[in-house]
Amino acid sequence: EDQVTQSPEALRLQEGESSSLNCSYTVSGLRGLFWYRQDPGKGPEFLFTLYSAGEEKEKERLKATLTKKESFLHITAPKPEDSATYLCAVQLEDSNYQLIWGAGTKLIIKP
């Protein structure tokens, strides 16, 4: 069964304390892996698309990487405004638009 698992469920960091969020996937064939950010009371907001192992994408303090089994979202020197739930989703090779979503990691950055 195709599955996406995110860990940890929640992560509390001090401002400036770098860390990584994990998204592991078990799928028959991967077309793409996507990272989204979701703030409370809002819909998810797109961050990155990764297509192949070894690929990396960066945006401000965030960097996403991809291997054949998992993706990491690295956050460097985070600020309180980076607090949000980060969602990972995968698109299967044989799918046009169906995404399989992880349950998310709730990130809290304390000042």
Binding site: Y36, P44, Y97, L99, W101
Partner: protein
């Protein structure tokens, strides 16, 4: 980008009633989707709203329970019918632009509580 407006933002409903959620997009889009998000759980795709034809439902979701309309390329509605407490959730409208690369734009969601 796309700006998506959803109504209502939240509602409290009685068991057995129905509620219609509206989704308005600021531009014409081909791909429009309805998702459900339960607390602490993954987003689950309910259906794809196709303009001019019947919606395409995912496994576990049926038209009688979640009828969808898509009268044009900027608007859609999702009705949650004969509600039970298990339908309490956040319902999200999302769209994808042409040449889709995995970027979906989401509305702010409609938080539904069924008593």
């Amino acid at each position: 980008s796309a700006v998506i407006s959803q109504k209502p933002s939240r509602d409290i409903c009685q068991r057995g009633t129905s509620l219609t959620i509206q989704c308005q997009v600021d531009s014409q889009v081909t791909m429009m989707f309805w998702y459900r998000q339960q607390p602490g759980q993954s987003l689950t795709l309910i259906a794809t709203a196709n303009q001019g034809s019947e919606a395409t439902y995912e496994s576990g979701f049926v038209i009688d329970k979640f009828p969808i309309s898509r009268p044009n390329l900027t608007f859609s509605t999702l009705t949650v019918s004969n509600m039970s407490p298990e339908d309490s959730s956040i319902y999200l409208c999302s769209v994808g632009k042409a040449g889709w690369t995995g970027e979906l734009f989401f509305g702010e969601g409609s938080r539904l509580t069924v008593l």
